[in-house]
């Protein structure tokens, strides 16, 4: 039986007392930390055994984390394995671009599917920042992606002049 590492968690009776929005944040952060602690991947079944959340809650939050590209899923037979996605290859390969209330952070990262450029959005308020969406572009295709953005920018400029 595979053992997974889990962070310290609140007892079920305690975490259920949190306000719903905070509870959501709490479950997602615990799952994020758990997937990060287990580089070789975790399954919903294993998580449900070790964490005080039911499997539907776990599934929901894992799909959100997959959508924001903080983790990724690999299907092996009937089992879906969730793996951490946010391991930058090198701290120097991390840069950010800030707007008034958002920050876009670009990392170069590696997972078992290859090397990628990962662009993650963070939404900021006076006190807080929350992870928004994120996209993964294969490192080999990144140059092409930049060219595509560049031509898109030119099209926007043309649209502005003509419009």
């Amino acid at each position: 039986m595979l053992e997974i590492q889990v962070p310290e968690v609140l007892q079920k009776s305690e975490y259920l007392k949190l306000p719903p929005s905070e509870r959501e944040l709490y479950v997602r952060e615990i799952l994020r930390q758990t997937v990060r602690k287990n580089e070789h991947g975790v399954t919903i079944g294993l998580l449900a055994k070790r964490l005080p959340f039911d499997s539907r809650t776990i599934e929901k939050h894992l799909s959100i984390l997959t959508f924001t590209n903080e983790i990724y899923a690999v299907k092996i037979g009937n089992t879906q394995l969730f793996l951490p996605n946010s391991i930058p290859l090198h701290p120097a390969k991390k840069q950010s671009f800030e707007t008034e209330n958002r920050e876009y952070i670009a990392y170069v990262l590696q997972n078992r599917l290859g090397e990628f450029v990962f662009i993650q959005e963070k939404k900021k308020t006076e006190f807080t920042e929350e992870v928004g969406g994120g996209i993964l572009i294969p490192l080999a295709d990144f140059k092409g992606f930049v060219k595509f953005l560049d031509s898109f920018k030119k099209d926007i400029n043309k649209f502005k002049i003509s419009g």
């Binding site: 962070p7 310290e8 609140l10 305690e14 905070e22 944040l25 952060e29 930390q33 900021k124 006190f127």
Partner: protein, 414 residues
Amino acid sequence: MSAKKVTLKSGKSFDSPALFVNARTKKEAHLLKETINRYPINKDHDGLNQIDGIVVSAKDYHKVSPFLAKKKLKDFGEGHYSIDDRILIIDPSSYLPFMGTRQDKEAFCNTVAEWIPELQNIINQITVIESQKTKIEKYMSEIYPLLDVRVIQHFLEFQIENHADILICPSVPLSSLRMIKEQIQKMGEMNKQGGILLKTIFQKYKEPRDLMNLVALSPSVLRPEYFEDIKDALVQGKPDILGIRLMNLNEKNVAETKEFLRFLKSLVGTKIPIFVFNVREFGYVTFCHGSSVISMPIARSPYTTRIKGGEKPPREGNYYHPIGMIDYSYQKLYGKIRANNYRFPCHCEICDAFDSLLKVDKSYWNDFRKIHFLLVKNVETKEFRKTKVPLKVALKDKFGRSEKTGYVTFLDLN
């Protein structure tokens, strides 16, 4: 001894050993700000440059906050160490439902009224119980369940949103030897929950903060057999700083005081910085046993004492004698310095400016003595930081010349 610079996650720093002051009222916060601005550093005096932090109880925060401006005051120039450059700690004071004066309990209930609306009623019901034993049991059975993860979340949020530099996890006090196991257990649970919250839902907060686990304890409950349990409960949630709030220390009880210092020394093994809250000159002793920071109320006793016969305290508060290291009442000071033409026994900025007791108008006396207290404490802190001999030797010398000679015995624990 050379001071050691400690930088917090918020970016602010302090030099250890450090002295923080408690601002309890609007007046005290105003005086603190006034003193910082009125006495900038010059070649003869140091203003309040050695006081690195301000501690405010959450129940007093709304009164004090107008004086803790967030914006830097430009009028004083770049090098000015303004009040908002100093470390701000907002203490949840969650020991108050269990111990403290009626007014303090009421103020605490008002602060948490939105989070625990039923608290005031419960406290009112328990207060009328006569048996102390039943009272403690009631407090624990009725109030402990209310201090759950939501309350911890609210308190941490309150501190973050009011720009505290160190977050204190609320917990219960250790006040009864009979119930100490249950109290330690609840304290450990709350500390653990605070640590988990900070690593999970509080990840959304942009600025990182240090977490302090604080135990409010009455030294009379400290027994060596509980040291390990208290230590374990204190380090739950992996705090960056440990804090001890002393309640009702009886310095005349040498055995009890030494037991407290042994406990403090036992915490040094955790290699986590230790802050000692709510002490006066005794706090200097704790520097020799492992504390890095002490916090002091401004020119008042840290402990509540009942005045016999319901007499009102005199309007003119006590004056801190810098050599005697003791507070003198106005009348006593008057008598003491009569032979010296009423000249103050002190050379701080404000005592130098007024020179004689007769020149201080009675209506200004309380402000005067508080400013004097702050300035003298600044000088004392500077002395400890700059002393060329070990701090223990410097303190032996200082206490030996003062009226606090009893403290010399606490400097060595053998």
